[in-house]
Structure formats: structure tokens, C-alpha cells
């Protein structure tokens, strides 16, 4: 056969399998080239050299053609294999496999992070409380309007569900001596159930006590301003005098409305301000009740649901307690 025909054999192979057949027929032990080489024995000596040279050239040429072809077909085969592995990656996005923290719990985490970084300790206390820790020790004498039976859940044995996290302050002060830097996060309970009240909600309460006349309202202003900037970013902070039985002087703290930047909108009732905190200098009567003398301190408290609702623009308080995935999955 002519060189050209042999080359054509290689060229005609369209698959790696066909090429392999060609390889065997050309280069195999009984292949065409082997047969040609076998002729060497019968060829006269004087022609041997030319024949061998021709045959070696032919072999080299064919080998080169074979390798080229093999490379092409391998590449094609790989391409085909890869094509068969093609995936529409766009089918696999948004696979909802991750859950989410509850916005109230996540807000609580963020609040705790701030105060822990300010070297506040975290304290806890029982949910089922007695009258002394929940009311009396907090300068809420019997018959005080804030002790209205309507607001408190009582048990048949006279115990009650804590109405605020403040009893944790009392328990901490009774258990240890000043200095104290603590927060008490947790669930609290009020007998109130409507659009804007749930019978359970969460508070974070803070208390700082130092020996001597050290702690001032100016210090309270500083920490709460820092805290509100941590939570809400660049907002204005306003303090207004107010009243709480266990602090004196007391104040409520507002931030400039984060929805309208203080211009006035529906959320802030057109005032431009959102009330977010209550605070004050601890009333000496409270220290008296826990047997602290010559100390000074401040305390503050906030509602976590309120923070969560403001931060994430959640409109319906009660929806926070339904476990509705349509709400929760937004916080993935």
C-alpha cells in the first residue's frame, strides 16, 4: 500500500476505538509495518539500506500521524465526556438548607456582645419569683400602682412570674459585694395580651454599683449613648426625665427615628423620636434593702422585642411567637 493510503487509514478513524484498530493493523505484531519489516530478510543487500531508510521514514511518518490523530480524538473524547457531565448550575442555587436564629434571640445576642465587651457579666435568675425580689426590694411598696394585680401573673401558692428582670439585680446584690457590672437578659411576664403586648417578652437589664460616691448620671449617659450607637448606628440620642420606682433620678431614652431620620413618620407618631430605654441612678432605698452602704450605681432596662422590631422593621409583635417559617426564613 502507498504511504498515502496508510495515512488515510489513520485519518479515517473517527473514534479512539477505531484508531486503536488502525494502530493494531499498522503497528501490531502482525501489522502492515511488521510485514514490511519482515521483507527485509528477502531484500537484496544492496537495496536493504534504501528500503530500511524508506521503511523507517514511513513508520515515523505514520507514527506522527497516529499521535496527532490520537491527540485530536482524545481531546474530542474528553470534550464529549465533559459535555455529558454538563450541569445547569443555575438549577441548584437558593437551596434552602440553612435555618436562622430568631430575630429576638439574635438581637439579644448583639446586646449581650456589647456589654460583655464592656466587661459586664451576665447574670440569670428564676422566672418564678417571690414578692420580695420582684417588688418589695425594688422600692415597689405594697399598693404601688405598678403592682396592680392585673399586670402580674400569680400562682396559687403566692409566687409570681417575674414582671421584669430586676429581681436578678437584687439577687446579685444580695449574693455579692460591690463592685458590680452586670446585665440580666431574659424572659419577663405581664398579664397583657393585645396587638402591642404579649404575656411574655424579653428584657435586658443592667446594673453598675461602685463603692463610694463614684457613679453619676453622666456615666450612665455615656454607656447608653455608646450602646445605642452600637445597636442603631449613627443616631441621635435624647434623654428625657421620667420615673421608675427603683431609680432616682430616672430617664427615658429616645433615638432619632431610624425610619424617617427624625423628620416625623407613622412609626415615631410624627415626633421624630423612638423611645427605646429606661434608666436612672439607683434609688438609695434599693441599696438599703440589700444592705449596701456608701455605694452609688446606675441601672437601665430595655425591651428586646422592641429593639428587634425596630432593627428589622417587624410590624406585628405577636408574629414573633408563632414560629412562622415565613417570618423566620427571612433571617437566614
Amino acid at each position: 500500500m502507498q504511504e498515502q493510503e496508510l495515512k488515510q487509514l489513520i485519518h479515517n478513524a473517527t473514534t479512539l476505538e477505531a484508531l486503536e484498530q488502525v494502530r493494531i493493523s499498522l503497528f501490531g505484531k502482525k501489522g502492515i509495518l511488521a510485514q514490511e519489516f519482515a521483507k527485509m530478510k528477502t531484500i537484496p543487500n544492496e537495496e536493504k539500506k534504501a528500503f530500511a531508510s524508506w521503511l523507517n521514514n514511513l513508520k515515523a511518518t505514520l507514527q506522527e500521524a497516529f499521535e496527532q490523530k490520537h491527540a485530536i480524538l482524545s481531546a474530542q473524547a474528553l470534550e464529549q465526556q465533559m459535555q455529558s457531565e454538563a450541569i445547569d448550575v443555575s438549577l441548584y442555587g437558593m437551596l434552602p438548607l440553612k435555618g436562622a436564629l430568631h430575630p429576638v434571640a439574635a438581637t439579644m445576642d448583639r446586646i449581650i456582645d456589647f456589654f460583655v465587651s464592656m466587661n459586664f457579666s451576665v447574670k440569670t435568675g428564676p422566672l418564678v419569683e417571690d414578692d420580695f425580689h420582684n417588688f418589695e426590694a425594688l422600692n415597689l411598696p405594697k399598693f404601688h400602682p405598678a403592682r396592680d394585680m392585673q399586670d402580674t401573673f400569680y400562682f396559687h401558692d403566692g409566687m409570681l412570674l417575674r414582671t421584669h428582670t430586676s429581681p436578678v439585680q437584687i439577687r446579685t446584690m444580695l449574693a455579692q459585694k460591690p463592685p458590680i457590672r452586670m446585665i440580666a437578659p431574659g424572659a419577663v411576664f405581664r398579664r397583657d395580651y393585645d396587638l402591642t403586648h404579649t404575656p411574655m417578652f424579653h428584657q435586658v437589664e443592667g446594673l453598675v454599683v461602685e463603692e463610694g460616691d463614684v457613679v453619676s448620671f453622666a456615666n450612665l449617659k455615656w454607656i447608653l449613648t455608646e450602646f445605642l450607637h452600637h445597636m442603631f448606628g449613627d443616631v441621635e440620642v435624647r434623654f428625657r426625665p421620667s420615673f421608675f420606682p427603683f431609680t432616682e433620678p430616672s430617664a427615658e431614652v429616645d433615638i432619632s427615628c431610624i425610619f424617617c431620620q427624625g423628620k416625623g413618620c407613622r412609626v415615631c407618631s410624627k415626633t421624630g423620636w423612638l423611645e427605646v430605654l429606661g434608666c436612672g441612678i439607683v434609688d438609695p432605698n434599693v441599696f438599703e434593702m440589700v444592705g449596701y452602704h456608701h455605694v452609688s450605681g446606675y441601672a437601665f432596662g430595655l425591651g428586646v422585642e422592641r429593639f428587634a422590631m425596630l432593627l428589622h422593621q417587624i410590624g406585628d409583635l405577636r408574629s414573633l411567637f408563632e414560629g412562622d417559617i415565613r417570618l423566620l426564613e427571612q433571617f437566614r
Partner: protein, 777 residues
């Protein structure tokens, strides 16, 4: 507490003070503004004088009025019944537009032309002062037909609603608010001018007598009058409407108006309830519990100061002789008396218990002026009176202490000035201390901190520069913080496995606990005043509330529900413990192309593998259900390091059907049992190890944990780990099953010979044969 700007101006001059300054000042001094709203009557609404009023010829309910509007007499048809009693009214003239958007145009009503509209207060954008149209009188100013109503400053007013804190009973009146505002603005209150009438019927002593039985801790002041006709003006009606005060009749209205204006507690009696022959005999008695009762005929109590009044003792506008009573009683003893006897109280109790105005002279004078102005009334001269001297609080306060509390440098002179403006008396004791006497109306001021608050209110919190605190460095973080962060990491792992965090109420329905035989609180320890039936007990498991969230989600067409909750539960004795619970219901993975939209339902093995990705390795034992939520054959006790850490189960199919939910798995763990414990590392063997499988045949009913325990018992150090890899049952095996266990055998000290490995496996087999009757397969 609702006040209006014009009403305040009765007591304080607010000229030059705009509403935004008022708003800022109120907030600054601690009287939080809930609402501030200005009312302006639109142009074109004028005073009209009704010169004639006849019934509409074709409509029963309409009246045809001829009304003088200054420039002309207009015919206007009016539907309000009270137009017949009116002389002066508000007329919206042609071309004017009312706040509700209505434009006034000439119309024909049942054949009669009408050129304008007679307005109610509501139609003018004001609160509805009375039913029907608003009848005007001189109380709003001089009435001049055709004069624009918007020029009457008294009725184009600004409403300010204040949210008062519980200690500020002194601000429950317009005067009280004005007094606090005067300190805030640095403007003195106007003196109250009172002119006594010159004509009287008789001296009050000729008609009435007054008896005090024993010691009375209250002040009272009585005036007696004969009334003929009681009217109230348009302005009184409007302001009562602004303040949202409802009244029974005109006399009631004037009393309520006076109390709202002055803060003095007032009642009126039909004097006949005190009749003793020719005279009225009024007596006061104080009970041992501190109640102060007013006694009528036969010494029966007709009222209790600050608490109630018998209905039949109350004067109405039809009463002839009326005894007016002003009183002050100290809040604390009143509240104690009321609470100890559980007395039903009326509206006056709220203010009395928070501290009413003790200035009874002011209250009675204001009332007298008002009655003289609006009513036909004749007074008896003089008063019946009892004054109780109440000791004023004296507080010694040092300027250094006050400065320290607020964190700014204060001066005695400035402090005295502020306190004077608030009605306190201040005497300088030395360069530091002052003796401060608080006025009677500030019964809430008790100590130096209260004084600090007063100073802070008036100088403003803005005057205090915030300062970081200096404190001794001391590590505050403790086990509770560690625990909190461990739990937080656990919550993060839960969400990475697809769970959503749920927060439910601490409450649960007792009926559900009972229905499913779930432990519930002992009845002696139950909630005494639950808020709703579905929240009438404390939860003893997180499962019930998770199930109710599950149902909520199923109702909203969710097919794959994964929830977890961290929270407190209680046992029957109400001892609390903190749990973390997981609920996995419906599809085990989201619908998608990989499952052709039909994922498999959640199964036990998937549930526990997800749980172990979150909580770490644990082992499980079959357990007998303790309630009807649990599937009898898929319930387990979970162990961590050989200690019980929780329970998990498939929801009982019957309960699932009951609730209309899918296949559901629930697990509940003790948080404390899941917290990370301290770990010491073991040396890792350097020598080759080998895997060996062992297949045995055992009783079908024998659970794997027994096999596991038996192997563990051997305590052979070469058995590094072992785990079940296959379980097989068929008919041939009958009551038996085949179990394959894979062992990893390794020595810490040498490369093991085959013989050693075989010996180990033989030992295992031998032990299993002996202890659980296992056969080699």
C-alpha cells in the same frame, strides 16, 4: 393627661412661646408629650345669629333658618334638632371648605334653597363638643355676626396630650401642668383672681352644721347653694371634649371641668341627704383602717373621701339645695385603706391615690366662679371646713452629693432658684448643705435623689455631659458567660443544619397536657390568674409549643418544618430546667431537581444524624413512652458519655393525625448535659491497625445497645472502635437476625500479628456467645 394651650394660658402667660418650644420643654422636664395637635377653623366659617327658625314644609327632620351672617341674612336648611334652641351658631358660608373636604355651595333641599351650612364642632375639625350643631355663646368671646371663627383664639387651640409617670399626681390638672411648665420655662404663674359675689341668701351656719368625730386625717371644705338653672358654655363643652371627659349632666360637667383645671377633688351632694329637721348636718368619721367617711342621715356613710359616693347622695342639675365638697386626703393612707378592705372605688380614686391638689380654697373659688358665670345660683355665705395639718417633708441635701449624682458641678444658688420655681422652700445650712421643704402637692419627694431628679428635670439632661466611668479593672466574666457562649455556638450549629429558632410563651394549655398524658403542674402550684385558656399552665416540655408552631406552619402550606427552641420548662413541682428541643417534620430535604420534587419523609436515622452534627456523638436506647405524644416503637433515651441527656421520639401517628401534621420527630435535651466538657488528648498509635468484620446471629428482639455493652465489657485495649454496619433478617433466620459489626484493631506498642487479631476476634465472639447467646453466622 390632656391640656390645651389656651387652657394653660388661664394660669401662665405663654406669649412668645411657640408650640415646638412647648413640646421640647415638656419632654425636657419629664412630662412626655404623646400628641400635640393644633386646630384651626377654616376661613369662611363665621358667627351666625339665627333670626328665625321654622320647620321645613316637606321634611320633618329639617329646619329652615334665617341667619344673620353680618353682611346679609341667609336662608340655611339645617338637619340638627338642637338648632331650635340655638341663637348663635357657626356658619360655613358659600365658598368655604370644611376640614373633611366638603365645599359649601348653594343647594336646594326638598325645594328650599340653602346658602351655607350650620356646623357641628366635629365638622369644623374640632372634637364633637355636643350632639348636633355646636351652639355658641359669649364664653368663646364677643359674638358678632359675620366674624370669622378663626379669629377666636379660645377655640383655635392646640391640644397637648402628656403621658404622666405614676409619681406625678400633681400634674393631673391643667394648673398643675402650668405650674411645672412655669419652672421649666422660667415664667411665673399668673395669680388667680377671685371676686366673691356680694349677695347671699344666708350665712351657711344658719342652714347647716358640721361635726367632726375624733381625729380626721383629711381636709374638707363645703359650700352650700340653691341652684335654679345650670348651663355650661360652648367653651366648657369644647374643652371637656378636648380632654375626653364624659359627663352625666351640666352640674357634673362643671365639677369635672373644675377638677381637671385645678386638680382639686370635688363632689356635690343633694343637701337633703344631710337633713336633720331644719338644718343639714354634715359629719366626718375616720375608721380604724383609715377610711374617712362623710355621714348623712342616721349616721350612714354617704361617701368615702377619695373612694366613692352613694349614687342617691349625688346632686343632679335638678337638685335644689346642693352641698359642694372639696377634699384632700393623703395618698398612702388612702391606698392602704382601700386595699385592706377591697373597696370598690370610682373615678376620683385615681387622682386621689396619686396626690390631688391640697389647695381647697383655690378649687372652691374656681368652681364658684364657674357656677356664677354659667348658672342661676344663690350661695349661702361662708364655708364649713376642716383643715388637717399635714407635715411637709424636710430633706437635707448637700450640693456635693447632688453634683455627684448628676455628674456635673452644681451651685447652691442655682439649685435654690430651680427648687423655688417648683414650689420648694430652701434654707441654706452651710456652704454645702441646704434644708429643703417640699410643697404638699409633691408628696413623692422623699430624699436627696428625688431632689437631684428635680434639678435634672429643670436644667435638662442635655446640660449633663456624658462621661466614661473610671473603675477598678476586674474580670467580670464567669461560668454564666461561658455557658451563654457555648449555647450560642450550639444554636449556630442548629441553624447550619437547617433548623429555625423558635421562641414560644412559657405558658401552655393544661387541657393539651392532660389530653396527651403529659406531666403538668400540681394544681396547688398552678397559675392563679392565667390570661387565656390556651395559656393557663406553665409548659413541662417544649414539645407542645413546638407542635403548635408546627401546626401553624402546616396550615400555611409548609412541607418541611425544622424548628428548635431553647427555653425553661417545669416539672410537676414547678422546678425549672433549661432545655433545647428540636422538631423535624415532613420532607427530609427541600423539594428540588435532585429529588424530582418528591423528597423522602424524615426518618429516624436522618433525624439523629442531623442531631449529632449539632450536638456531637451520642448513643440511644429504646425507651417506653411516658406520654401519648411518643411513638411506642420509635422512642429513645439519648446518652452522652454514658449520661442521659435527653429524649427523642417520632410523633405518635394518632397524635399526628389528630393535629393534621406529617411524620414528625421531636427531641428534647437538657442544656447542661450538652455543654462542652474538658478534653485531654490521647496518644495516637503509630502502628498499623486492621479492620475486621464479625457477623453474628442474635435474637430478633435484642437491641444493639446490649451487644455494644457486652463488647465494651471486654475492655480489650486492642479494640480501638467498633460499630454496626449491617442488619439482616429473613424467613430462614426466623426469630433471629443477623448483625455485622466492624472492628478496628490496633496496638499502641507493636504491629499486630494475624494471630493476635484473630485471638481478639475470638475473644469477642466468645463473650458474645456467653453473654447474649450470639452465634457466628
Amino acid at each position: 393627661m390632656i391640656v390645651t394651650r389656651r387652657w394653660l394660658e388661664e394660669f401662665i402667660d405663654l406669649e412668645g412661646i411657640d408650640n415646638s418650644t412647648l413640646y421640647d420643654t415638656f419632654n425636657r422636664i419629664g412630662l412626655e408629650v404623646d400628641r400635640i395637635e393644633s386646630y384651626a377653623i377654616p376661613r369662611g366659617v363665621v358667627i351666625g345669629k339665627i333670626v328665625a327658625c321654622e320647620k321645613h314644609p316637606h321634611a320633618d327632620k329639617l329646619n329652615v333658618c334665617q341667619i344673620d351672617i353680618g353682611t346679609a341674612i341667609k336662608q340655611i336648611v339645617c338637619g340638627a334638632a338642637n338648632v331650635r334652641e340655638a341663637e348663635y351658631v357657626a356658619v360655613a358660608t358659600l365658598g368655604s371648605t370644611l376640614p373633611n373636604g366638603m365645599s359649601i355651595k348653594p343647594v336646594t333641599l326638598r325645594g328650599i334653597e340653602s346658602e351655607g351650612m350650620v356646623c357641628s364642632a366635629g365638622e369644623l375639625g374640632l372634637p364633637q363638643a355636643e350632639d348636633g350643631i355646636w351652639i355658641l355663646d359669649e364664653s368663646i368671646g364677643e359674638l358678632e355676626p359675620g366674624k370669622e371663627l378663626q379669629t377666636y383664639t379660645n377655640i383655635n387651640d392646640t391640644l397637648i396630650e402628656l403621658e404622666l409617670t405614676a409619681n406625678r399626681g400633681d400634674c393631673l390638672s391643667v394648673y398643675g401642668v402650668a405650674r411645672d411648665l412655669s419652672a421649666g420655662l422660667g415664667i411665673k404663674c399668673k395669680p388667680f383672681e377671685y371676686k366673691q359675689k356680694e349677695r347671699f341668701l344666708l350665712g351657711i351656719g344658719r342652714k347647716a352644721e358640721f361635726h367632726i368625730e375624733g381625729e380626721i386625717h383629711a381636709s374638707v371644705r363645703y359650700k352650700l347653694a340653691d341652684i335654679k338653672r345650670v348651663n355650661i358654655g360652648a367653651l366648657v363643652k369644647l374643652r371637656l371634649a378636648f380632654a375626653q371627659i364624659e359627663y352625666k349632666d351640666n352640674l357634673d360637667a362643671l365639677l369635672l371641668y373644675t377638677t381637671h383645671a385645678t386638680g382639686v377633688m370635688l363632689r356635690c351632694y343633694d343637701a337633703e341627704v344631710f337633713r336633720m329637721q331644719e338644718k343639714f348636718r354634715v359629719a366626718l368619721r375616720q375608721t380604724s383602717t383609715g377610711k374617712v367617711e362623710v355621714l348623712g342621715k342616721n349616721n350612714t356613710a354617704v361617701s368615702m373621701l377619695g373612694a366613692y359616693q352613694q349614687a342617691d347622695a349625688k346632686a343632679s342639675e335638678a337638685t335644689q339645695s346642693v352641698l359642694f365638697e372639696a377634699f384632700y386626703i393623703e395618698p398612702e393612707p388612702l391606698v392602704a385603706a382601700i386595699s385592706s378592705e377591697q373597696i370598690q372605688t370610682d373615678a376620683l380614686y385615681y387622682q386621689s391615690s396619686r396626690g390631688s391638689n391640697p389647695d381647697l380654697y383655690f378649687g372652691t373659688c374656681y368652681l364658684t366662679c364657674l357656677l356664677d358665670r354659667y348658672c342661676q345660683i344663690e350661695w349661702y355665705e361662708g364655708v364649713l371646713e376642716h383643715r388637717c395639718e399635714i407635715e411637709q417633708q424636710k430633706i437635707v441635701a448637700g450640693i456635693d452629693k447632688l453634683s455627684q449624682i448628676l455628674g456635673i458641678k452644681l451651685e447652691q444658688r442655682k439649685v435654690a432658684q430651680v427648687l423655688h420655681a417648683l414650689g420648694f422652700d430652701v434654707r441654706r445650712k452651710d456652704h454645702d448643705e441646704m434644708v429643703i421643704t417640699s410643697p404638699l402637692f409633691r408628696h413623692d419627694i422623699r430624699n436627696v435623689h428625688d431632689i437631684a431628679e428635680e434639678i435634672m428635670r429643670i436644667i435638662g439632661i442635655d446640660a449633663i455631659t456624658s462621661k466614661p466611668m473610671r473603675f477598678q479593672e476586674r474580670m467580670s466574666q464567669d461560668d454564666i458567660v461561658d455557658r451563654y457562649y457555648a449555647l450560642r455556638a450550639l444554636r449556630q450549629r442548629a441553624i447550619s443544619q437547617g433548623f429555625f429558632e423558635h421562641i414560644s410563651y412559657l405558658f401552655a394549655p393544661k387541657a393539651i397536657h392532660e389530653k396527651y398524658q403529659v406531666v403538668s403542674l400540681d394544681s396547688a402550684l398552678e397559675l392563679a390568674n392565667p390570661i387565656a385558656e390556651e395559656l393557663n399552665t406553665l409548659r413541662t416540655t417544649l414539645a407542645i409549643n413546638l407542635l403548635s408552631a408546627l401546626k401553624h406552619n402546616v396550615n400555611h402550606t409548609q412541607k418541611r418544618i425544622m424548628l428548635f427552641e431553647v427555653g425553661t420548662v417545669f416539672d410537676a413541682q414547678r422546678n425549672p430546667s433549661e432545655k433545647i428541643a428540636f422538631l423535624y417534620s415532613g420532607y427530609q430535604e427541600p423539594e428540588g431537581v435532585r429529588n424530582s420534587g418528591k423528597p423522602r419523609a424524615i426518618t429516624f436515622d436522618v433525624f439523629v444524624s442531623v442531631l449529632q452534627s449539632i450536638l456531637g456523638p451520642m448513643s440511644f436506647c429504646n425507651t417506653t413512652p411516658t406520654n401519648d405524644l411518643m411513638h411506642p416503637y420509635q422512642s429513645a433515651t439519648a446518652y452522652r458519655d454514658q449520661t442521659v441527656c435527653g429524649t427523642l421520639f417520632k410523633l405518635h401517628p394518632k397524635t399526628a393525625q389528630d393535629l393534621g401534621v406529617f411524620d414528625t420527630y421531636i427531641a428534647e435535651f437538657d442544656v447542661d448535659a450538652l455543654l462542652p466538657s474538658h478534653i485531654n488528648a490521647q496518644t495516637i498509635s503509630k502502628f498499623q491497625g486492621a479492620y475486621k468484620d464479625l457477623s453474628i446471629v442474635i435474637d430478633k428482639t435484642l437491641s444493639y445497645d446490649k451487644v455494644h455493652a457486652a463488647i465494651q465489657q471486654i475492655k480489650n485495649p486492642l479494640i480501638k472502635r467498633f460499630y454496626p454496619i449491617d442488619i439482616y433478617e429473613d424467613r430462614q433466620l426466623g426469630e433471629k437476625k443477623s448483625l455485622t459489626i466492624r472492628f478496628f484493631i490496633q496496638s499502641d506498642t507493636q504491629t499486630l500479628e494475624d494471630a493476635q487479631i484473630d485471638a481478639t476476634m475470638k475473644q469477642v465472639l466468645h463473650v458474645l456467645q456467653e453473654s447474649i447467646d450470639a452465634q457466628l453466622r
